[in-house]
């Protein structure tokens, strides 16, 4: 008898979570290389619902549950910074970086040398070269050129090549914060379609218009479910009222 309320509550919990995911997207509209998340729902059918005498679809109650967050892999807008060590990936692919916890992947290509001249991300993760070793920029080096394949060269000659990889399933990657992604999958080399642009940064791929519309939708649906709950409450109250009078 309480099923309508429970179903409504399952949706409300889901909408709450959806709002959290949306708020995170909105908060990261200026985070370079950020890829927006979307919460996917699925129906959870419960056969225990309803009366066992009734057969057919009415016997099952459809609860709402989250299935997963899907990362939007649409490319973000390219922003020119003019910094020679800012690189953006056009096409599928990720830079490989070495953190204390292991190799992580990122599309945020804003690199700078540390005190030893090793190329790092802003958070200290070392940028890996094609051979799996960090790339070192010698001190006093000024003209750094990065070509479309990710090869770094200076006036002193080639310095290495950025390790750019791709994965069969982008959705199997998990975000770990700090613009990094982790995965157990084996990285694969990128093909000719993936190019690198120097002096550019890939912005966040969150589309504010879409998110705002989505936000209004969540809010209104939430209010609508609230009304269902209220009506259900009213129905139950009336039922109790009438039934008690019959008795």
């Amino acid at each position: 008898m309480e099923n309508p309320s429970y179903i409504a509550v399952s949706l409300m919990t889901g909408l709450h979570r959806q709002m959290d995911v949306l708020a995170n997207n909105m908060a990261n509209t200026s985070t370079p290389g950020y890829q927006g998340d979307q919460l996917a729902f699925r129906t959870l059918l419960s056969t225990r619902a309803g009366s066992p005498q009734i057969d057919g679809p009415g016997r099952k109650a459809a609860f709402v549950t989250e299935n997963g967050t899907l990362r939007n892999t649409r490319p973000g807008p390219m922003e020119r910074t003019g910094n020679p060590l800012d690189v953006a990936i056009a096409g599928p692919g990720y830079f490989a970086v070495q953190t204390d916890d292991g190799v992580r992947y990122t599309r945020h290509g804003s690199f700078r040398p540390d005190a030893q001249g090793r190329l790092t991300m802003g958070n200290g993760a070392l940028v890996l070269g094609a051979g799996g070793a960090p790339i070192t920029i010698p001190a006093g080096e000024s003209n750094i050129e990065i070509d479309r394949r990710g090869a770094i060269a200076s006036t002193k000659g080639p310095l290495g090549k950025l390790q750019i990889v791709k994965f069969e399933d982008d959705q199997a990657m998990r975000k770990t914060g700090d613009n990094l992604l982790e995965t157990e999958a084996e990285p694969q080399p990128v093909d000719q379609r993936t190019q690198v642009a120097q002096g550019m940064i890939e912005g966040s791929n969150v589309q504010s218009v879409v998110e705002v519309t989505h936000m209004i939708d969540i809010m209104r649906r939430y209010q609508a479910v609230g009304r269902i709950l209220e009506q259900e409450h009213e129905r139950a109250r009336k039922a109790i009222d009438k039934l008690s009078r019959v008795a």
Binding site: A23, A27, T69, R71
Partner: protein
Amino acid sequence: MRSLSIASTGMLAQQLNVETISNNIANMNTTAFKRQRAEFQDLLYQNQRRAGAASSDANTIVPAGIQIGLGVKAAAVYRITEQGNLTTTGNTLDVAMQGKGWFQVELPSGETAYSRAGSFQLSADGKIVTADGYTVKGGGTIPRDATDVTVNTSGEILVKQPAQTQVQRVGQFELAGFANDAGLEGLGDNLFKNTPASGDPVTGTAGRQGFGTVLQGFLETSNVNTVQEVTNLITAQRAYEMNSKVIQASDEMMGALNQLR
């Protein structure tokens, strides 16, 4: 409701963004100012359902887990050390660095600071000093009766005195370079200090070992691009507004919840 606090991290981030942009715009006419850029990173994620976890005993796995991010944080405000434009002033002691390298300035405390603002002047005893009166390393002493002061591309200071036919070399600017210019710490007054992130200074002379050249009668302008800054400002302001909308929407959802009987 997490969305409230998530949106507030977004607003804080955009506030920092606006602050950085306003500092850039305020310094659009500061000699040799290097523009800054706020860089953001996403915060931690909470895994409600882990991707790759087993979903049954038949070796099926969850293809995409549920990850809820907790917002955004400022990772760094870094300096873009792109060369600024050169503007001619015609002043004998205005020197611009073209390329890599910093002038070394002796602070009153005895420490060395680094600067690219080459609007130098003479002190009472003939020393080459910055606008604040701090001595520039390698500047030497210019004799009182010197008639002609020339600074060549290698940073040598040459003077001519009335009684002599030959020019005399009184000093040569000693430059410093760093592995990571962006890691320098700004002290204000166009001065910078080295940090562990910038690495130790490597000294040298202009035009050699990767150092740039010195140009007399020129100053390096600020590398702020106003058009870019204004567009960035608009984006930051709108992003701030949108995050406040998320707070509003979350508030309305909580309001709807409170109205339930």
